[in-house]
């Protein structure tokens, strides 16, 4: 593998010069037949892929009215074109959101509109050839579905949904991505993206109890499969495995300990992440989410709390209600959803984000902190795309922006904002979201992180920032990997509950 280097920071952050074809060879590995067939997709590209792809596209256009609107509504105004971190970092014009969507829109016109059927050349309609299909695979796996471009679209076109539809069509003809689809197979089989079996999980959690005891002197528990616990914590499996993720897991446990909350993890539902969303596949998304319902019913919990994972929270907040019956709006004919509705305690929000849980306890005065414990850190906060643009927290608009910041300010003395053009609803993706957090796309990930790294550098230079907090497992893993390539220390990245963990008083109150 050739050496991957970071692109230079832009002196003036304007639309970069175009480099057509710059990323045409950046293709993540295609799933093999074993991976594909395990999750019910054709193993290889099927012989009649062209016809099946068009049929599938028609099916999706019928099922998702939004997709049809997005295909028709774009006027090519260009407002989105320079809003994508991958375009900024790679300069490949096909990474302009409008151009990426047009890979599908041109095919839509050819097969689903009258002018496209009659006069394809006049309206920019294209046949779905093998070259076009390959182009789809290449560039729809260079989109992290972060939806920053959608914020700037005057028509509100959700480009992530277009990417999801394209991936769904590709999967249906046997053209899947190794990274995402292998992971989906593991969740169905073992219960989490990592493939971490129960005994290994138990061993890890026991080790954590020892570590926390040694470091703090307190018996903080990491319970698993405890029937009758009040809270079921659903968190990304990376929290059990990776650095710095695990430090936030310790933070959640300390919050539960200090507030006297009975809680449990589940070996069956040991994954918050849901890659079914990334590939736009409703059935997989539902099947993954149903593990959580099963675990909640078996354990008899009253509340479901979600850990620091961006797309897990989007799925939980926006889709769990109809998928599983967590939250309002479950299908009345779905017996288990109704059972869960009855079981959960509706004096509380369902589901609730760990940041909402912690902030609520802080406001009630149930937690206290030694803020000085975080004095070595000058902290900034990176909003994760799926939390920022796909969900909410708290009882007021923008709660998903304020609550994590409020927690940081409650547990630490030094907090600095990055440029407002790159935070909150305008936040840039970390560069590794949406199923792209794989080594075979490292070059793309490094380039895609450029705009975030530019503004991080600013606050490092101006304010001496040395810690970037975030609430997403993908962001944490992505930054840990790519920041050294930009000359930053990988330990500059961590979770909000890592900061909570540093400062929380376990004995007092």
């Amino acid at each position: 593998m050739s050496e991957i280097t970071a692109p230079a920071y832009r002196i003036i952050p304007i639309i970069p010069a175009l480099k057509p074809g710059a990323m045409e060879s950046a293709r993540s590995f295609v799933a093999n037949d074993k991976i594909q067939e395990t999750i019910g997709f054709p193993g290889q590209l099927v012989d009649n892929w062209h016809d099946r792809a068009i049929v599938k596209m028609g099916e999706l256009l019928g099922k998702y009215r939004s997709l049809k609107v997005y295909m028709d509504a774009c006027v090519h105004c260009g407002a989105c074109s320079d809003k994508c971190h991958y375009f900024i970092g790679t300069q490949d014009p096909k990474n302009m959101p409008v151009a990426r969507q047009d890979l599908m829109r041109s095919v839509y016109r050819r097969y689903f509109t009258l002018p496209g059927k009659l006069f394809p050349k006049l309206v920019g309609a294209r046949d779905l050839t093998r070259e076009v299909l390959d182009e789809w695979y290449t560039y729809f796996y260079q989109c992290s579905e972060c939806r920053r471009c959608s914020v700037f679209c005057p028509y509100g076109i959700d480009t992530a949904e277009v990417t999801m539809a394209a991936r769904e069509i590709l999967d249906s003809v046997g053209y899947g991505q190794k990274y995402s689809n292998e992971i989906i197979g593991k969740v169905h089989k073992i219960g989490n993206n990592l493939g971490l079996p129960g005994p290994a999980l138990l061993d890890t959690l026991q080790g954590l109890e020892e570590d926390v005891k040694e470091a703090s002197g307190f018996d903080v528990r990491f319970p698993i499969d405890v029937k009758g616990a009040e809270v079921l914590l659903i968190t990304p499996s990376a929290d059990f495995f990776a650095e710095p993720h695990i430090d936030s897991l310790i933070g959640y446990a300390k919050v539960f300990h200090a507030t006297g909350t009975s809680w449990t993890l589940s070996s069956k539902a040991s994954e918050g992440g849901n890659f079914g969303l990334f590939i736009g596949n409703y059935e997989h998304m539902r099947k993954i989410a149903l593990r959580i319902r099963e675990a909640a019913l078996e354990l008899g919990v009253k509340r479901i709390v979600v850990g620091e994972c961006g797309h897990a929270w989007r799925v939980a907040y926006s889709f769990w209600n109809t998928l599983t019956g967590v939250g309002e709006g479950a299908d009345e004919n779905d017996r288990f959803a109704m059972m869960l509705q009855k079981q959960l305690d509706h004096r509380y929000k369902q589901p609730v984000h760990i940041c909402e849980f912690t902030w609520d306890m802080i406001e009630k005065g149930a937690l206290s902190f030694d803020k000085e414990a975080n004095d070595k850190h000058i902290i900034t906060f990176h909003d994760s795309c799926n939390v920022a643009r796909g969900s909410r927290m708290g009882e007021f608009a923008g709660g998903q922006f304020e609550i994590p910041r409020d927690i940081i300010k409650a547990v630490a003395n030094n907090f600095v904002e990055m440029s407002l053009a790159t935070t909150r609803e305008q936040t840039f993706c970390c560069g590794g979201g949406g199923g792209l957090l794989t080594d075979d796309l490292l070059d793309l990930r490094v380039k895609g992180a450029l705009p975030r790294m530019e503004v991080l550098q600013q606050v490092v230079d101006e304010h001496g920032v040395n810690f970037m907090a975030t609430i997403c497992a993908i962001c944490k893993a992505q930054f840990t990997k790519i920041m050294p390539i930009y000359g930053f220390d990988r330990r500059m990245v961590g979770g909000v509950h890592q900061l909570v963990s540093n400062a929380i008083r376990l004995g007092a109150k």
Binding site: F29, Y179, N193, P197, A200, E243, H245, I246, D439
Partner: protein, 111 residues
Amino acid sequence: MASIEVNGKTYETDEEGYLVNLADWNAEVANYIAQTEKINMTDQHWEVVNYLREYFEEYQIAPAVRVLTKAIGKKFGAEKGNSEYLYGLFPYGPGKQACKIAGLPKPTGCI
């Protein structure tokens, strides 16, 4: 399917050079994979690789980074029980790079 050839014998790997069959692993294969990763295997590297294989045999997965650092610290001296030491040995990240050399499957997910 990709493959590597070590001492005249062919071993099946995935696209990224991870061994497909765990049972294929041996010291020569490990040395060969290490070379492709630009790592010169020392006793310190072997300590980590052997521990990974032991852990995998018991749990069917590589250990969490924290479990690994703790175990290495306990077994081989406290000065080795930190992730800086492990990153020093395996610059691409102890999780993935050391697993590859140990012939274990690549850990997947948000890591």
